[in-house]
Symmetry: C2
Subunit: 196 residues, 2 copies
């Protein structure tokens, strides 16, 4: 059985993206590059955690993480990542409006209307490897609230954003089991197991 | 010159106390005992951090951390801690309504109306040792927003509270400098320096 993981880059004050997310600023306004600097500028320091993110057997993401929502699908849009997305496993995108799959180098983006269907398809595709809930915050909050995530990996960047999209909104209280904590200069990695 | 420190016990979802704080539940409702278990049940594991909290030369706290606010002062109330409070240095309590100081074993609670006055008195009393902003969240947020805290020490308990009093409300964005991260079974200690 797959472990369902979730990696989220977060500020110390609990934001995963700034306000004003849009086409030319997918993480929104403010110093949000601080959230992901560790992945770009310090790959060696954080090699184990990056490998953990990239090692899943399937991914689930929200509609807005695939691209900006402007009503009808723009079929020329194939995701924020260009021809070579970082995902080297199938990606299931939660989207009410149907569209054909997008096949790119290493992955296929498949569009599914509901959480249960996405989870079933992702578990099947993962073949026993991890299923990763990739974001954004609203999608992760939905999965957390439904008790569908086994392991939460917070990557806490040393920044206060002051505003933006917040993790844990609508997620009820529960005990967590601490697994590990590791600090590198650009990020502190905190891993917790969640109750089923 | 004193370093201004702030130690806050916090849930993973960013709450420092539950909702419904009152006389018989100073931390509010919910599993808020999880926030402070490490201080009570695991003193050895967390000896360095506890020593850090108790080693300040003076403390500043909000009105509600001293006791429940019911309008006029109840002069028989001498704080939540009984005859032997944990503070072994002068404590300055922010309170608009004047009342005489409370002298207990090891400390004196002095009531001052404003942040600037509290800070000046605390720095003077600390004699070069740390000034600790002790809480609660609203008071800490006020000091953070004013740029008055040098070192923030978050003690993150492995629990989601889901609701309650939130740290960082109204605190603008800024870069932090990570100092240390250390995990023990009941808490993860994260220390950051803040810009002046």
């Amino acid at each position: 059985v797959s472990t369902v993981t979730c990696d989220m880059a977060m500020s110390v004050d609990g934001y995963t993206a700034g306000p004003g997310q849009r086409l030319d600023a997918p993480f929104g306004d403010g110093p949000v590059d601080r959230l992901t600097r560790w992945m770009i500028e310090a790959r060696e320091d954080n090699a184990a955690e990056i490998a953990g993110i990239l090692g899943a057997g399937a991914y689930i993401m929200g509609r807005n993480m695939f691209g900006p929502d402007r009503g009808e699908w723009d079929l020329s849009w194939t995701g924020w990542w260009g021809e070579e997305p970082p995902y080297q496993a199938p990606v299931f995108v939660l989207a009410h409006r149907p569209r054909p799959p997008v096949a790119l180098r290493g992955t296929t983006f498949t569009f599914v209307p509901g959480v249960a269907e996405a989870m079933a398809l992702a578990r099947d595709a993962a073949g026993g490897r991890d299923v990763s809930v990739a974001g954004g915050a609203a999608t992760v909050n939905q999965f957390l609230a439904a008790g569908l995530i086994d392991e939460l990996r917070l990557h806490v960047a040393p920044v206060l954003l002051g505003r933006g999209e917040r993790l844990f909104v609508g997620v009820p209280g529960s005990d967590l089991v601490p697994v590990s904590a590791r600090q590198t200069p650009l990020v502190t990695h905190l891993t917790y197991r969640l109750p089923r």
